[in-house]
Symmetry: C2
Subunit: 335 residues, 2 copies
DNA sequence: CTGTTAGCGCATTCAC
DNA sequence: GTGAATGCGCTAACAG
């Protein structure tokens, strides 16, 4: 245990300069002579100096950390690939940065406005908010705050910066793939209706079928879990046993759909063709390999983080919200 | 945005007391009169005062935050239920606490000793370290530091505080379940050999079979992923097509095992009985539902976090390392 | 380009 | 039980 963490004072003394010069040398080296810079660098290396974050934060009133707000862990939490992708994206964008990542679990029953108070209290410089649900206080509490970026489009997006994948286009893409494979009796296991991602993907499904004058009523909504999708599939097939294809709004749900189909003795893709959505790991683990729509989640989050950092740094907005295009990932479940 | 975050000074002034009294009132209220206490409380509520973490950290040289160190995101990262369980455990232990959680991604190629330097620099008060691998610098870098707790027993545990599940006993439990079901040609898809969890579960397998004089050589090691396990299962069955039961060292791997068995036309449990390990979500999603060993991960991590907090608070060690007992979770894959 | 001078907001001696 | 004084380690004017 070091008896004493080296301080800027000691660095300055060892380098033979004043504290201010040492400080400038550390922060970008503006207006410091090469000689002084070198001396300070040497002293830092020699002493193993690491700036004290608390002191720096106090002086600059910037914490050097951002928060990642994630929804309360519930039963589906334990197998949610979404969160892992988010982590990976933030982590990538922050690597090489001095910025710290503070994790904030957004408990559902926590006092309204607590989150925005936390941000306003200045405990962190900014925040990334994941998976907004309808009725979430967060969306309204945080509207207009410029140090906040949402992952996924919120329900009312005015005054909210966000990045998202084009879920409508993704839903279209998936459904067209089924059409191109020659299927005509197409249904969907949609996502939850209290999330824009669920709604948008369903919209894409409806668009694609409507464009070719096919019925769009074979819909049952799941909850982005395998178990929920399994039940939804049974409900749907009870009603419409003639379906020859399904667009499943998430790969996790496709696992449940496969089970339901197997229970009914239906083969994939011979009897029922399948196209999923996400490509976050589950698709490649299925047999036959699931044809799916790639959700560029990691890139999305990476972009969101960089955008937040830019907003914090320059103070100026980077402009438009970012909506990334989805792409089809071929498998053997669609034809 | 508030023009000005309220400071302790203002609280003191509004309450008609000195800064020191206000400070005491806030921190436990020792040696402050009921009248003063009430006045301060009122002022705090009125002003919406929130103590500035940076200032407090600077004054106390305690940051009020702990780090959670997780391994670098690789390809299996995106579908690892382990990490989610850890998050859930830490989150639970920290809720109701003022302590912040800082996420640290431990990049494999990061300079040796960086992590321990980070801790010694005092950026956080302590750390929770997840899933130690053999050859990890971390284990040696952090040995002896009393503000660190590991999740999962490290290879050399001297000088390292950790909590773990009894993986050996878990492996025994799983294997005995298979024996009790009348199986006699039992193999295992083990975990990676560079993790104590993998090694220990295999040890339990060997113990249980050795105790009844059955051969223990039907072993192939997976990597805790479904794809890896699928390949391992084929290797094992190529060599030992007569097996009538498998202990699979993780539920994620069991998914791959099921695929491999299906490919070979083997039914579960009629032809091959299966017992997994973890019960972190995958088991209940399988059909037939996987019989598995419950890994009390969330409780483990919760305990680890509380232990860390205790160590930081009182300065005294809480004593022994904690090793939680695993329990069997019945399914219909074992008989 | 450099050093001197002030705080940032809080906890904590120490006398009273 | 209370208040005055001091310092945590750093950055940011300011005058030189």
């Amino acid at each position: 245990m070091a008896h004493h963490a080296p301080t800027l004072d000691e660095v300055a003394r060892e380098a033979g300069v004043s504290r201010s010069t040492a400080s400038r040398a550390i922060n970008g080296g503006n207006r410091v002579s090469p000689a002084a810079q070198a001396a300070v660098d040497a002293a830092i290396a020699h002493l193993g100096f690491v700036p004290n974050r608390a002191a720096r934060a106090l002086a600059t009133s910037q914490t050097g950390s951002i928060a990642l707000v994630i929804p309360e862990p519930d039963d589906k939490f334990l197998s949610d690939p979404f969160l892992l992708g988010v982590l990976r994206g933030v982590s990538g964008a922050l690597s090489g940065t001095e910025t710290q990542l503070v994790l904030l679990i957004n408990h559902a029953n926590q006092p309204e406005g607590q989150m925005s108070r936390y941000l306003r209290a200045g405990h962190v410089d900014g925040a990334i908010i994941t998976s907004p649900h309808a009725g979430d206080h967060l969306e309204d509490d945080l509207r207009g705050m410029r140090n906040v970026v949402f992952i996924g489009r919120p329900f009312r997006s005015e005054g909210i910066a966000y990045v998202d994948v084009d879920n409508v286009e993704g839903g279209r893409l998936a459904t067209r793939t089924l059409l191109d494979a020659g299927r005509t009796r197409i249904g969907t296991i949609s996502g939850p209706t209290d999330m824009t991602a669920g709604l948008d993907r369903l919209q894409g499904f409806t668009d694609a079928l409507g464009a070719v004058d096919l019925p769009t009523d074979a819909v049952e909504s799941g909850d982005f879990t395998a178990a929920g999708a399994e039940a939804a599939t049974h409900r749907l097939l009870d009603r419409r046993p003639d379906l020859d294809a399904l667009f499943v709004a998430s790969d996790s749900m496709a696992v449940g759909v496969r089970i339901a189909l197997a229970d009914r003795g239906l083969r994939v893709p011979e009897d029922v063709a399948l196209v999923g959505f996400d490509n976050l790991g589950a698709a490649t683990a299925m047999t036959p390999r699931l044809t799916t729509v790639d959700n560029p989640l990691v890139e999305m989050v990476d972009a969101a983080t960089r955008r937040l950092l830019a907003r914090l740094g320059s103070g100026e907005d980077v402009g438009e919200n970012l909506v990334l295009p989805p792409t089809l990932v071929p498998g053997s479940s669609d034809r």
